[in-house]
Subunit: 640 residues, 2 copies
C-alpha cells in the first residue's frame, strides 16, 4: 500500500492534552506568555488602529524603504496572540483573559466593512491603499492569521463570532480574487492565507475556501508577473523592488516548477505548508512531487542541525547551498516554527519519518529556543554560537516570533498524532492523552513517558470495543537499538517498518499496552564537509535534542574545547535550575589559553589539558547567566 | 646604550632605488596605476570642484547620515595620486604624466584663498561650511594629504609650487588653531594632518609645523570635548553622532592616556604615526610609552596574521579582543598601509624588530594584496577566506585604498633603511641601491637578493673613505638558523644582537661585503586559542609571506583540506603566471566531499584521502581565475 493513497486528518488541539515536558511549557504559556502577548500588543498601540470607537487612530508612521511598515501587519500579531489565548483557555480556563480576547474580537466585528473586508491598517490608517500593493502590504497575510485565530478560538471556546467575521471576509475574497472582470488575479507577497483557507475549509466543511487557496497557489509565479503589473498600475517602478528578486517571495516561477528553496524563509515555509495541505486535500501528486524535491533541497543543503533555517538577516532567508554560519545565523524562530508546520503537513499523505524526524528536530531546537523557561522573553534570531552578546528579548520591533512559538507550544499536542480512516500514527512522543476519532468511534491513547529526557514510552489504548486498525509508531532514524513490545510481546521491528514507522496492524482491544524504548545516547553529528563553517567541528545530540556548551557551566573560550572522536563515557545529571532538564557531562580536552604567551600567533599549537564538559539542551541556553554559547565544538581529528 | 637616545631620520624616497621583487611592483605603478589613479579621479568629477576656471562646479551631492559625503575628501584622493606620481616620476620620467600633475597643482594654486585656505569642496561646493564640522568634514585630513603630496613632489621633481601653496595653508592654520581669541581649539575627526605637518617640518626645517602637529595631538580628547562643543555651536545634537562614541576617532580621551586600540582603523594608525613622529622629534617618552602599550594591544590581540587590522565593516575598525572573523574581515587595505606607516615611525627611536617584523608582515600581506599584479585593479577589504565572490575592483565609491597602496609601493625603498648619526639600520631586505648620508659623508648600500623568494641577501658597501659606524641588520624573529658574515668572516649572532638586529659596529671600508642567510621554510602559525575563528586551524608562512590556498590550484571546498601537524617535506615551484612567484606544494589529507551521501549531518566524520596542496602568496590571490581562497586551513589535531 502506498502511503500517498491515505489521507491523514489533522488532530484538533483540544483533542490532545499534554503533560510532562510539554505540559510545563504549556503552563508557562498559560501563566505568562498568553497575557504578555496581549499586553505588549496593546502597548504597541495596536488597538488604536483596530478600535473604531476611537474616531482617529492617530498613527503617523513612515513607510520604510521596502514599501511598508511592520505596523501594517499588526493584525497578524493580534491574531496569533488570540490563537495562543484560545489554546491556553482550553488548557487553563481564564475568564479575564477570555474577556480581553472577546473584546478584541468585538472590535474586529465592529471594524468589518459591509462588504466583508477587515484590516485595521487599511481601513483606519491608509484606507486609500487597500489592495494596491499585495507584494509588500501583507493584507492577505493578516487575513490568514485572523482566520487561524478564528478557527482556534472556535475550537477552544465554541464561540463563532470571529469565525463568522472571517468567513464573511473569505467570501468577499472569493468575489475579489479571480480572472473575471474587475477581479484581482493576484496573491499575497507573504504567504499565509493559503494554509489558513485550508483550515477554514476543514472546520466549516466548505470546499470553496479550498478552491480559493488553490487559486492563490496556482497563480503564484505565473507570467505576466502579477507583482510587476501591480507595481506599474500603482505607479511604482518594478525595478525599484528592494528585494531585487521575486525569489524573495517564492513567486519567481510557478510553484510546481520550483526545485530550490529560496528567499524569505518564513514565506517559503508557509507556502509549502499550504501546498502540502492542498496536496493532501486534492491528492495532488504534482504538488507532492514538487514538495518532496524542495524538502530534500532544504534538509540536505540548507538546514542547521537545530532545524534552524534561513542563515541571512539581509533577506531573512536563504543564501547559498551549504552556507551555514553559526555566529551570525539568522535562523528566525518563526522559520523553525514554520518548518514544523510544513513537516507536519507533509504527513498528510501518510506517516514518514523523512518528514517527522525533521519536524521533531526543528520543534525541540530551532523553534523552542525562541521561548524562555518563564515564557516571558523571546529569541528572534538563533545563532549556534554566541560570544555572550545574544540575549532573549522582552519584545521586538517586528514581534512575529513571540506569538508564533507560543501558539506552537500551546498546540503541540496536535502535532503528535495523525489519524486516517483506519490508522493512527504517533509522530511525536511525550506525556499526553489523545482522544481520537477513528472512522466513527473513539480511541484514547495515553502516553506515559519522561521523553525527551528518557527514551522509554508506554502507550495505553482505550476503546469501547475491539477494532482492527493500524497503529504506526515513528522509530526515529537516530534511535539505534530501539525496541518495541505490544502487551509484553516483543515486536520484530524489521518486519513492521514502513517509511520509518513501526506499523502494527491488528485488532486492538481496550487496555492494550505498547512499550517503546528509544535509546538516548549522546551522539556526534558531523556536517557535510561542504559546510565550511562546521569543518573540523562536531555537534552533540541526545535523542531529538541538540546540546550546547554554555559559559555558565564551562567558563569562557568555548572554542578551545576539543571533543574526542570516540566519545568517552558520559554522565547525565538533572539540572534543577533548568526545570529538571537533563545535562550531559563528559571528559574532553581543552586548549590552554592561560599559558599561551604574549604573541597572538606562534608556530606551536596550544598545549592541551584534560577538562570536563557539561552540555545542556540548546533550547534552554541563556536561561541562566549570560555568556558564551557554542553548538559546534572542535572535534578531535586523527590522521588516516 | 638605550635605543631611545638615538634619532633615526627617515630616508627620502629618491635616495633608494629598488629592483627585483619591489622593482616589478614599482614598474606596475609607473606603467599603469599612476595614470589610472588620475584618470579615475578625473572621471569621478574631482576637477569640476577644483578648477576655478569653471564658474560653477555643478555638484549637488546629498549629505550622508554620517554628516558628510565621500566627495568631501576628493582633495585627498587627488593628493595621494599626485604623491604616487611623484614617486613614479623619480623611477621613470614621464613628461605627459608630470604635465598632468602640474596642471592640477596649478589649479590648487589658483584655488587658494588669499588667506592661504585651500579645499576644493569647502571653497567651491559648500563655502558656507568651512571649519564648521571638523568631526566629520575631513578638512584638515585633506590638507594633510596635500602636504604629503607637496613634499613628495618637491623631493622627486624639485618643483616647489605645491609645497609653497601648502606652506601658506599651514601658516594660515597656525593662526587659525589655538587657544587664542577667535582661534579654533580643535582637531580633525580623521587624523592625518599630524603626520603631514611633521613631514613638512622636516623638509622645510621649520619647527613651527611640528608645534602645530603637537597642538593637534595634545588637544585630542581633552574635556570639555571639542566635538561636542562644535556640534552645539553648529546646531547639531551631539547625541545624534552616528558613530555613537568618540572612540571612533580616538578622541575619547587624551592620547597619552589611551591604552586600547579602538575605533576606525585608519584614523588610529595615522594618529599613532603622527604621535611616533613627535615622540622621535621631541624625544617624548610620554608618547613613546603610550605608543608601546597601544602597539602591544594591537599586535597581540587585534591583528590578523596578514597584518590586516580592523575586522568590522560597520566602523571600518576594531571590535573586541581576539575577534578576527576571516570571511567577513574588513581589514581595509588602507589600514594595513597605515600600520606600515606607524611601524616605520616606531623605528625613529632605534631599530627594533618588535616593530619592523610587523611592518614587513603588514607590507607583504595585508597591504600589498590591495594591488593587482597589473597595477590596474584593487582590493578595498581583505578577507582571509572567500567563497569565490570577493574580487578586485576597478574603482571604489570611496577610492582611498588605490592611491594609498600605490604610494606605499612606489616609495617602499624609504621603508627599507633608517639612518642615525652613526648608524645605518637595514629594516627590510630586497634588491636595492641606497645612497645614504651618514654624518656628512655618503654611504651606498647595494643589496643583491631575490628576497622574499629566497633568503640569501648580499649587501655591498661603498664609501669614499673608511668610517666607524654601526650597521644594524634586522634578523626577523621567524628566521630560525639565520647566519651572517662580513667579508667572508662568520659573525656570532648571539654576540651582536640588539633588539632583534645584528648590530655590527666597526670601521667599514669601501667594498665591504655583508652576507646574510635567512632560512625560508614553510612554517605553521597557530592563533591564540582565544581567537575562536581560527580554532583548530593553521596558517602557513614562508619568510614574511602568508600563503593561501586558491581554488584555481586546488579545486573547491578548501575547508575540507587538513594540514598535518608535523609538516611533511615541501616542494617549491616558480609560478610563471604569477610573475615567477614561489608556490609551495605539500602532501595533505582531504575530507571526502564526493561520497559523503545525501544527509547534511551524520554520526561519522568524513573519510579522508591523500591530496596535494598548492599554496601561493596571499598578496597574489585573485590574480588568475576567480574562486575560493583560504588562509586558515584545518589543522590536524592529535590527542595528548
Amino acid at each position: 500500500m502506498s502511503n500517498k493513497d491515505r489521507q491523514f486528518r489533522p488532530v484538533a488541539v483540544p483533542d490532545v492534552r499534554v503533560g510532562g515536558f510539554w505540559g510545563k511549557w504549556q503552563d508557562a504559556v498559560c501563566d505568562a506568555t498568553a497575557e504578555i502577548l496581549l499586553d505588549r500588543c496593546v502597548e504597541a498601540g495596536m488597538l488604536q488602529a483596530l478600535d473604531v470607537r476611537r474616531a482617529n487612530p492617530g498613527i503617523v508612521i513612515p513607510i520604510q524603504p521596502w514599501g511598508g511598515t511592520t505596523q501594517m501587519f499588526w493584525d497578524s500579531d493580534l491574531a496569533k496572540s488570540i490563537e495562543t489565548i484560545a489554546y491556553s483557555l482550553y488548557r487553563k480556563p481564564n475568564p479575564q483573559l477570555e474577556a480581553r480576547a472577546d473584546d478584541i474580537i468585538d472590535m474586529y466585528e465592529r471594524l468589518q466593512d459591509k462588504d466583508g473586508y477587515v484590516n485595521s491598517w487599511f481601513q483606519r490608517v491608509q484606507p486609500d491603499r487597500r489592495w494596491t500593493n499585495l507584494r509588500d502590504h501583507h493584507e492577505l497575510y493578516c487575513a490568514g492569521h485572523l482566520i487561524e485565530a478564528a478557527v482556534a478560538y472556535f475550537q477552544a471556546t465554541g464561540k463563532r463570532k470571529l469565525l463568522d467575521v472571517m468567513c464573511r471576509f473569505a467570501d468577499y475574497m472569493i468575489g475579489k480574487f479571480g480572472h473575471g472582470e474587475g477581479q484581482i488575479a493576484g496573491y499575497c507577497g507573504h504567504q499565509e492565507i493559503e494554509l489558513a483557507l485550508v483550515k477554514l475549509a476543514r472546520v466549516t466543511g466548505e470546499k470553496k475556501y479550498l478552491e480559493l487557496s488553490k487559486f492563490f497557489i496556482d497563480e503564484r509565479g505565473q507570467e505576466p508577473h502579477f507583482f510587476t503589473e501591480e507595481a506599474i498600475r500603482d505607479g511604482r517602478s518594478p525595478k525599484d523592488y528592494i528585494q531585487k528578486t521575486y525569489e524573495y517571495s517564492q513567486s519567481h516561477e510557478p510553484v510546481r516548477r520550483q526545485k530550490k528553496v529560496v528567499g524569505h524563509a518564513v514565506r517559503a515555509m508557509y507556502m509549502y505548508s499550504g501546498m502540502a495541505d492542498l496536496a493532501t486535500e486534492y491528492r495532488d501528486d504534482t504538488l507532492t512531487t514538487a514538495l518532496e524535491t524542495l524538502w530534500d533541497d532544504l534538509t540536505t543543503k540548507q538546514m542547521y542541525v537545530t532545524g534552524g533555517i534561513g542563515p541571512s538577516a539581509k533577506n531573512e532567508g536563504f543564501t547559498d547551498y551549504y552556507d551555514l554560519p553559526n555566529d551570525t545565523a539568522y535562523a528566525e524562530t518563526c522559520a523553525s516554527v514554520a518548518l514544523v508546520f510544513w513537516a507536519s503537513r507533509m504527513l498528510g499523505r501518510g506517516p514518514n519519518r523523512r518528514f517527522a524526524d525533521i519536524m521533531e528536530q526543528a520543534l525541540y531546537n530551532g523553534a523552542l529556543t525562541g521561548l524562555s523557561l518563564t515564557g516571558k522573553t523571546f529569541f528572534y534570531d538563533n545563532p549556534l554560537e554566541s560570544t555572550g552578546k545574544h540575549h532573549r528579548w522582552k519584545w521586538h520591533n517586528c514581534p512575529c516570533c513571540p506569538p508564533n512559538i507560543a501558539r506552537l507550544v500551546a498546540s503541540v499536542g496536535a502535532y503528535m498524532y495523525g489519524v486516517a480512516a483506519d490508522e493512527i500514527a504517533v509522530h511525536l512522543y511525550g506525556e499526553s492523552t489523545a482522544r481520537l476519532e477513528l472512522g466513527g468511534s473513539n480511541v484514547t491513547l495515553r502516553q506515559v513517558t519522561n521523553y525527551p529526557w528518557d527514551g522509554k514510552v508506554s502507550i495505553r489504548l482505550e476503546l469501547k470495543e475491539p477494532r482492527q486498525f493500524a497503529l504506526s509508531l515513528r522509530i526515529p532514524e537516530w534511535a539505534e537499538g530501539a525496541s518495541l513490545s505490544v502487551n509484553g510481546g516483543r515486536i520484530d521491528l524489521g518486519a513492521v517498518m514502513l517509511d520509518g514507522y513501526a506499523r502494527i496492524e491488528r485488532e486492538w482491544t481496550d487496555g492494550a499496552e505498547v512499550s517503546l524504548d528509544l535509546p538516548l545516547t549522546l551522539r556526534p553529528q558531523y556536517a557535510n564537509p561542504k559546510v565550511r563553517q562546521d569543518a573540523g567541528r562536531v555537534a552533540l545530540m541526545r535523542g531529538p535534542l541538540v546540546y550546547c556548551a554554555e559559559e555558565v557551566d564551562n567558563g569562557g573560550d568555548l572554542s578551545a574545547i576539543v571533543v574526542p572522536e570516540h566519545l568517552p563515557e558520559t554522565k547525565t545529571s538533572i539540572m534543577r535550575d533548568l526545570e529538571d532538564a537533563v545535562a550531559v557531562e563528559l571528559p574532553v580536552e581543552r586548549e590552554d589559553t592561560q599559558n599561551w604567551g604574549e604573541a597572538l600567533y606562534r608556530s606551536k599549537p596550544a598545549a592541551r589539558h584534560e577538562a570536563k564538559l557539561r552540555l545542556v539542551p540548546y533550547h534552554l541556553w541563556d536561561n541562566r547567566a549570560p555568556g558564551e554559547m557554542l553548538v559546534w565544538l572542535q572535534a578531535e581529528k586523527r590522521g588516516a
